[in-house]
Symmetry: C2
Subunit: 246 residues, 2 copies
Amino acid sequence: MVDPRISVIDERLKRISRIIAVSSGKGGVGKSLIATTLALTLTRKGCKVGLFDLDFTSPSTHIILGAKDAQPKEEKGIVPPVIKGLEYMSLIYYSRDKATPLRGADITNALIELLAVTRWSQLDFLVIDMPPGIGDAVLDLIRLVKRIEFLIVTTPSQLAFETVKKLANLLQDLKVPVIGVVENMKTKQAKSIQQQTEKLGLAFLGEIPYDLKVEEAIGDETKLLSTVLAQKVKEIAKGRLRSARR
Amino acid sequence: MVDPRISVIDERLKRISRIIAVSSGKGGVGKSLIATTLALTLTRKGCKVGLFDLDFTSPSTHIILGAKDAQPKEEKGIVPPVIKGLEYMSLIYYSRDKATPLRGADITNALIELLAVTRWSQLDFLVIDMPPGIGDAVLDLIRLVKRIEFLIVTTPSQLAFETVKKLANLLQDLKVPVIGVVENMKTKQAKSIQQQTEKLGLAFLGEIPYDLKVEEAIGDETKLLSTVLAQKVKEIAKGRLRSARR
């Protein structure tokens, strides 16, 4: 039997122009920070933006945004609270701070549930903070969210880029559009990641220097938007996400 | 029906004195580097050591060790190759560099299979590079590997430590022994992680400074063992893993 919630998902997402999945091959590369900053940046440019934290391995955008006390409203589904100008929804509202982990099937179930119940407005962009890697949840999201486009975050580390290759191969096999790859936490000049990215047939979107100020800006969006990271994200958005239409 | 491989696992692990699971709440905190360095350090001290990479999200110890071409041998099970003085086994031998991800049940199956077929010698220590977080694979390993002890890696970032709290709560609920918490990639003096760790009732094992030399040492164990990271890992091993008996 087909889960009736799956047809509801298309309905829920149809008023959203572009759905940007900020992803990484492994954790700890700054994916959540870049997703949050991208969403805030697009909001400040006058776009209508949603931020959807589906990183069940370590949901953290609520901490980055300083959105601890906000709560979604139940009203023929779930209406996301507006936080710092953006519509915000997170798995954290589902799992709270339970230590009890969600098992595989429960994760899929939680993802379907959240996608099916969340009532977004008419949005120019929905930015999704994806689970890292190429596990079940990523596959489920590709299946459930039809118009998803990937923006991949890596660091200069070989260890991170090896996992990007796997993610890129998977997305290419599944014919999922990839906007490109951002190199975060850069500590010295080197073109290696750019070259390897282009060899994969993907666009290299730019470099973001390693920046200690980012940690201090966690929970404070004004500080966050004044970091070098935010400046770089703004340039990427200007170059690649100019239009709310694909 | 009980999987017959599960009773084989106890048999396979019974000649190992201590099983150290190097873990983290999220990826990108240096878990694989610390697991590999710890295994190498214990080997250099004259212990018999195995390193088992079960981080299916991004297996990387083979890259860190420079063990690309080594292969396990089939002989009444699988005999791990000896690499840089340690017995080495990795999920990578199972999954190769396939882009195709393992789905939940397949991961559990791969873990059971690997634990059941790998023939370790009599070892003082088996160091496991664990999957990050508190997902299925971590729960499965806790269930399958009876005498497992956790060594948790974090960074100074709030975002990393929030996930450590969840992992620590889970381990405490399940009564799994925790050796303690290491703070990696430290960039400035602060006692906040130490204090928060002690508040969780866990031992704080020490700090490792952020060290750009580590990236250059990937694939070269001599360089790796001469980093500040290795020096700190050695101190931790000396203080906390002195005895092969618990």
